[in-house]
């Protein structure tokens, strides 16, 4: 009975409204953060930083963003990459055109631009629902990328349509090593995850979930559909926008608009579905799954020494099969699996 809440009584609502009401959870998350902020930077290799951890965190952030929209507010979207692109290109232009602007401010402004675009493309969601909306959000995806390729101003008239992220300097410190970029990304992602947790446990979050679960009833209770949905689009796009900026600045460095392709949108969608729709921790699980699994499969295929074309195709097949497998085991995603594991642990060693 390692994991047990018995004996932990809450004497105030404040205590009960904590983010992690159970002590073990709290300790666990603190340990995780300490580990991530202090231990990892000392032990991890540059490969781990720049090829695994940084993309993992950025994807997790984008997944958080999509989760706000799809998981919490129930609006299925296939356009997350487009919002990421807006964030990245806007941040690039802010830094380029506003001399002396702090990088973080540019990221935030980039996020805000993404939020504005999100609101514009969120308007149809007032009438359109479900897969119709999902397919319609593809309009965002294609339109935004098209605009970025078409309008030279966005890319500072670079002949190839490619932008090169400027250096990240905050208060005179240069974030140019993988480890420092990792710490920066981690800090941003942690703060934004915390903000999101706060949102979903207060009225905004409840309004989103209400609209998701039953919009007519939500309306009757006094939530305003338009406002709620658009706010969800805005906040979600903001998260995606910041993730997109990080994708350009902390991860790739040089990007073309096509980097924010439909493919990327889909990958982010996979993350939230595999991780758990409507779950914050699920976004992290999902991102880890989608980032790590192909690498793992690739390494396994290598050790098996298969002919390369066979190996590549097998990787793809196993990847697909594993997705299906996990969905069958737990349709609500890894987050639910995690929760069930905890519940089992709570009962362990006595079943029921």
């Amino acid at each position: 009975m390692l994991y047990r809440e018995a004996g932990q009584f809450k004497i105030s609502y404040q205590a009960d409204s904590q983010i992690f009401p159970i002590r073990q959870d709290r300790l666990f998350i603190i340990a995780m953060l300490v580990f991530a902020f202090f231990v990892v930077p000392m032990v991890a290799s540059p490969y781990v930083f720049s090829a695994i951890l940084i993309p993992f965190l950025i994807f997790a952030l984008a997944a958080l963003g999509l989760n706000i929209l799809t998981g919490y507010a129930g609006q299925l979207s296939l356009g997350s990459a487009a919002f990421m692109a807006v964030g990245a290109f806007a941040a690039y232009n802010f830094i380029l055109r506003v001399p002396g602007i702090p990088v973080l401010a540019a990221f935030i402004l980039g996020g805000l631009c993404a939020a504005a675009v999100g609101v514009a493309f969120g308007l149809p969601s007032l009438r359109i629902r479900g897969f119709y909306l999902a397919a319609a959000t593809l309009a965002t995806q294609f339109f935004v990328v098209w605009c970025l390729t078409k309008i030279g101003w966005f890319t500072n008239y670079s002949s190839s349509g490619v932008i090169t992220a400027q250096r990240i300097t905050i208060l005179g410190y240069n974030f140019d090593t993988p480890a420092s970029k990792y710490v920066l990304t981690l800090a941003i992602v942690s703060v934004m995850a915390l903000l999101m947790k706060n949102m979903v446990r207060t009225n905004v979050g409840r309004s989103w979930m209400a609209v998701r679960d039953m919009d007519v009833a939500a309306e009757v209770i006094g939530f305003r559909l338009m406002r709620t949905k658009l706010l969800a689009f805005a906040v979600s796009s903001f998260y995606c926008g910041v993730a997109g900026a990080l994708y350009a600045y902390a991860y790739l460095g040089t990007v073309e608009p096509e980097a924010y392709s439909l493919d990327l949108s889909f990958r982010i969608l996979f993350m939230i579905i595999i991780g758990g729709v409507g779950s914050i921790i699920g976004s992290f699980f999902g991102a880890a799954f989608i980032v790590l699994l192909p690498i793992l499969l690739n390494i396994i295929a290598h050790t098996l020494d298969l002919p390369t074309s066979v190996a590549s195709n097998l990787e793809l097949m196993v990847f697909g099969a594993l997705i299906i497998f996990f969905l069958i085991v737990e349709p609500h995603g890894l987050a639910r699996l995690w929760q069930i594991a905890k519940e089992k642990l709570r009962l362990w060693p006595f079943p029921h």
């Binding site: 409204s17 009225n203 309306e219 209770i221 906040v235």
Partner: protein, 262 residues
């Protein structure tokens, strides 16, 4: 007991309401009023238009004809937001809880119109936002206590049995501290004992907070026992209106709905 309760003036008056869906006439020229603090029941056979009536009152449906007078304000129709804002809350016949949320969160949604802080403060969960959240939480806990559902506070509502879901839904409506509470078959699917509990809740709300209640129910025992006045619908028309005794002895009502008296 009845004598102690003060039944006030008419606060909601429905005049000549007609509502049709394509060819289906759900309501035809219906007028009735609701007085402050009373328990007003609507009864009638299945498909008579009872739920549609409630939907008209809180703006889910827009009647083609008629007028709604609420607290002196004349309107052609309501809209849901205005209705909620002006103190009309309701429960639904086919439970309309937010399935993915816990009981506590569901009831908290009922308080949304009372929340002042904006989402930025909430995201920071800082100062006023936190205080406000906790204040509402306290209020909601009172309701949870009142409805005796403490033990399922954190359970996702989709896992609850039907009867408890109905109770949670009542809690959500109560959380808004409404002036008028519209209840659509709150006791369907409950056994006698649970119905007794539910009646108790309704009566207490009515007594303690002075909430006006409009109630749809098929259990005549309940309707006759707790309501002050009853309106009877049949095929979208009003066929009776009055105190339970009057209605019970109305021949039209007996023919259309009650059949032999129980």
């Amino acid at each position: 007991m009845q004598a102690q309760r003060k039944i006030g003036e008419v606060i909601l008056d429905l005049r000549n309401i007609s509502l049709a869906f394509g060819g289906v006439k759900a309501l035809t020229d219906i007028s009735f009023d609701v007085r402050e603090h009373e328990i007003r029941a609507i009864i009638g056979p299945n498909g008579a238009g009872k739920s549609s009536m409630l939907n008209v009152i809180n703006g889910v449906y827009r009647p083609q004809q008629g007028e709604i007078v609420y607290r002196g304000q004349h309107r052609k129709d309501m809209n849901t937001y205005a209705a909620a804002k002006s103190g009309i809350a309701r429960t639904f016949q086919n439970i309309a809880l937010f399935k993915g949320m816990s009981v506590l969160d569901n009831i908290m949604t009922g308080r949304n119109l009372k929340i002042q802080t904006n989402f930025l403060l909430q995201a920071l969960y800082w100062g006023p936002a936190q205080r406000e959240e906790l204040a509402h939480r306290r209020k909601v806990e009172e309701i949870i206590d009142f409805l005796e559902i403490q033990h399922i506070r954190k359970t996702p509502v989709s896992r609850l049995p039907y009867g408890l879901q109905k109770r949670v839904e009542l809690g959500r409506a109560l959380a808004a501290e409404p002036e008028i509470l519209l209840l659509d078959e709150p006791m369907a699917g409950m056994n006698v004992e649970e119905k007794q509990d539910m009646c108790r809740f309704i009566l207490d709300v009515n007594d303690q907070f002075g909430t006006t209640i409009v109630l749809i129910e098929h259990d005549m025992g309940v309707v006759m026992d707790i309501s002050d006045r009853v309106v009877v619908l049949d095929y979208g028309r009003k066929i009776g209106d009055g105190t339970p005794e009057e209605v019970r002895s109305n021949q039209d009502v007996i023919n259309a709905y009650l059949g032999v008296a129980h």
